[in-house]
Symmetry: D3
Subunit: 246 residues, 6 copies
């Protein structure tokens, strides 16, 4: 497996924001500048996707465009050695793993798994109530539901997270409340749009604050070093032959 | 809720095959001719979808086109009073529930829930090994994982199911084997393309054989009578305002 | 299987209230008048049962009389083609499935399964605290425990539900409270005696309100159309020979 | 609670075989002669019950007669200080707990809980396939499903267990097979009728063999010493007032 | 198995407090004076252990000394016929079961299993918040997590439990609160240091109060009578040969 | 949190083999030479521990010595910035997290979590049958039990893994068998002593082979970059004051 990997070629981690908001991509990218990595990063958004992913139908649309972007990158001269899906819903994650052998990491799964290494019970703070069921579904799928005290929504929509002191205060206050009510010991930020708050919040709250964007990129970097690739047997096998013709 | 429903207007159940295979739509339609219903059925496929849905990436593509079809029907003069998604993977089910208030029923969930009313432990026989993890995921989501002895694949791809005696014999033999190994007492047919075999198989095997296509349509018919509609609070709320502009 | 079913014979759905309250049977029957059905309904109660089923020992007594009623109907000239057990505890459900090949549907399971088709998280409002553990047990058995935000008791006993505005207000207020606390999106009425409130409550609360009585009857009607019968292998096999002599 | 217990009064453990087979009661009683107990035992069967409990409908009938027996004993001059239900299905267990404050212990739960103290993974060997689902249901209810490698049926009906070498050999061979297949380290005998085999089987198989009859009686004896009684709040509260009049 | 057991030899239950607090051992011993037992008890603490076990690292240290104590007793002239580990965390329980064939019972598992025989939903009241995750972990391992409404901490450290009215009042008040909030019907005392409060609390609160110390000793006494020993196959097999040389 | 971390100071990942086998430490170290890391590694074993960890009592002893080693390192001039516990049982993991704020990663949890990113269902191949229950327990604790097809033992003890072609062939054959039987798509090597086989096995078997040693070290390296530290609230709080005096 992966016999084609050669450490002398330049390697790339493609980070794809499945929504169409370029400013959100930029904001996430800015929050990752200080990350120590062995590989290069390339950032993308999906220009035909909804401006933000709030709910299942946004997600289904974004998944479609995300897959197109991955196929395009896979067919390029230097396909990425790892992919990060930069939406906390892990939009299109399983489908993406079918169309590449490179590891694909969702920022939601990355943050929630990592939380289970540094805490006994974490809580997730996302944006809107409608996303709660999606994230609970993912938690069950990843197996982490018993490690999570609950998934909560601040009520602030994705696109308002880029802004100001008021938003930060609202989120900080919501986070403090659910930490205490759940007797939890870590917070997972449930939206890529909060990644610029991680250090400040960790300082203010005093428990680990997990930001999926940085964690997923760091894991992708690790997985390249470890020569880990996605299994091509059974569930993530390459798509069946008929699909080539589309 | 649903105050607009009036029993004197004609009501429609839209049955959407999320793949593009018209012959498969016809085959399913034929297997439902004898169903006693209070409402009319309209059958559709998604002409831009993959020819069959085998795996996550097929599913993600088909979900996109399925949603477009539902939006188109919702905007028509006489939107359907219920929808059936005629793929056993229940492709795009949660997303579909966001964009209509009419009930939406997947043939997979319909068959698996119904099996739990007439048996203590059912097994599912699907097409390819790659679909097993998807159906196990759905079973967990629906809560029926403990009622299911296992999900198995016959190895026959979707598009070969329309055919002959040899395919039938292979499926029948695979079904008998897993029934016995799991000490199970019912079989769920894990693909809409097997719906024409249900009576024959039930005769041959001697346990209930559940076909999602017929069951989902009958449930949709029930739900209309019961005036049941999808909750528009929280997880299935109408998409956020921004989406109107797309 | 079911070779004896002939669509030209008249078919009957027997709805059995396992308690002895005739007025409760009448009330449930009244709430089902508008249901569109393909088959006839026959209503029964169990005159030797407790007047209401509140707890396990009431249930055990009622199950005994319910089984006697089903045996009597099975031995009649025109045995029913489907049974509905009209107590939200689904009293005697598994035992009933052993002594008939016709499908048997409990109003509790019917409502809770249906809720999972139109909502992401439902709550159940039953009568007395003592019934909560029974319903939680059933939820686990049906596999729906993760789809349910909680089972709650209004404190109003079964036989007081037939009455007045005050009871309705108390239940409505209890329902609103638990919906919000659980961030749930649908309500299941946890007692057949509340079935006459379903439309009014749905109007007042704005989320789907699921009444097991109507749903179970409609499902029974569907199952007859679908020619679905209870598996007679393993768990629901006909009782062993010795029992004939009793 | 239990202030009425006085160690100087004679105390009784009532052991009730919920079926009507007197010879089975005698056989169980014989297998318990050597048990060291602080309290007296009284043995009963239920003369109007089925001769054996094989399946849900037998169980529902037996539960009815079991409750009548307990009510009769509760109304006697010296009500028992503890009850044992001597059927491995734990017939009527929850209902029995409502109508007495004395602890009630089922032989199935006793054996399965005890197994979890002396082994990492036990298997259950019961009589007929039809009982498997009932015992799996109980395992889930007791919470021990993950400690159990599986529930298996020897195919020998209850009433044939009293007999001969051939039956013993068949059970021993079935037990050895499932122990190995499940990599399990203890066996639970899934029927009171096997209690006379426990020592012989333990000798022959080399792993702990758990017999619910003896274990339940010994636990009942303990619970009396510990002054433990059934909670009369919520789920096991005394039946509601209306029932007094029946 | 256990062929060496002879009812005429004196038998001993060794009760080992894994911490080093002699006064706590004495207090537990005093609370057990009235227990009716067939066998003798011998009480020990572990003089090199932490003074109390509050958290995982205390537990890991105490487990080491507990194992040394058990090895010493096993090598004595009259090894105990049963062991009780008298810390509610069940410190070192699985390891202890490897180094003796006698049954080993933890006071935590004893109390929590027993609670499931006399209540539908119990709550646990332990000392410090840091112990909650440990007990939740144990509940999951024992399979009782669904029978438990929650594990709570009074905030009172172990060594302060021996004292006064104020401590008692604080615990009683905390217990009443969580009982009501969880609609639970029994209380498990989550620390051996509370065993002297059990009768008083049961009187004051009106629901069963379960104290692991007394229950575990009584179970150990039962298990000796029942000739139950720990399985020496697979998970609890004797340590591998290399360990003899240490 | 972690304000003391300064990227200009040298940082160290301490990898502690909790057993006393220096040759095993060397073998693991050799298998990690090619890993790309930002930080330095220091390797240790625990000279007073058992020579290998096979079962719970070995683990309890090793945990004791592991904690002593961590305390010693924490008190050194340059305490490590991350710890790896290099035993697949994750010996002493929770206890270790209490006595340092640096992240602590077990090789078992690292491999099993990573497997869930690149496969749908993995199997674990460990050494002896006695370790299976320990690893199943860990899987449940980590939440990954539903992602794992099963834990299997090759029968080869830890210390024989360093050797020859015959051992490799036996493991390879066992791995192929369980992969197929479980329809799994990745293998987790369930012992640090197999880490030198990972690439060869991956080549031979054709599915991802996950080795906890390399993965845990790479994750530790990531966690340092991400400035992630263990929560010091609730479950992993610093030990209580009394322990300072020991």
């Amino acid at each position: 497996m992966n016999a084609q990997y050669d450490k002398d070629e330049p390697m790339t981690i493609a980070i794809i924001n499945p929504n169409s908001s370029h400013s959100m991509t930029q904001q996430m990218q800015a929050s990752c500048l200080s990350l120590a990595l062995h590989n290069e990063t390339q950032w993308y958004e999906c220009s035909n996707s909804p401006a933000s992913i709030e709910g299942h139908s946004d997600g289904a649309q974004a998944a479609y465009h995300l897959l197109a972007k991955i196929r395009q990158l896979e067919n390029s001269d230097a396909p990425p050695k790892a992919y990060v899906i930069a939406c906390f819903d892990d939009t299109g994650l399983d489908a993406a793993r079918e169309i590449t052998a490179s590891p694909v990491i969702g920022i939601g799964e990355a943050a929630m798994h990592a939380a289970s290494f540094v805490s006994q019970k974490f809580v997730v703070m996302t944006t809107l109530e409608r996303s709660v069921a999606i994230l609970e579904h993912n938690l069950t799928h990843y197996g982490l539901v018993n490690r999570c005290g609950g998934v909560y929504a601040s009520g602030l929509p994705v696109l308002s997270l880029q802004s100001n002191q008021q938003s930060y205060d609202l989120v900080k206050s919501a986070v403090s409340k659910v930490l205490q009510e759940n007797r939890a010991d870590a917070i997972v930020l449930g939206c890529g749009g909060m990644s610029h708050w991680v250090e400040r919040l960790q300082q203010d709250i005093g428990v680990p604050v997990l930001d999926g964007v940085r964690i997923a990129i760091s894991l992708a970097d690790s997985f390249i070093s470890l020569n880990l690739s996605t299994s091509k047997v059974a569930g993530y096998a390459w798509p069946e032959a008929k699909h080539q013709q589309q």
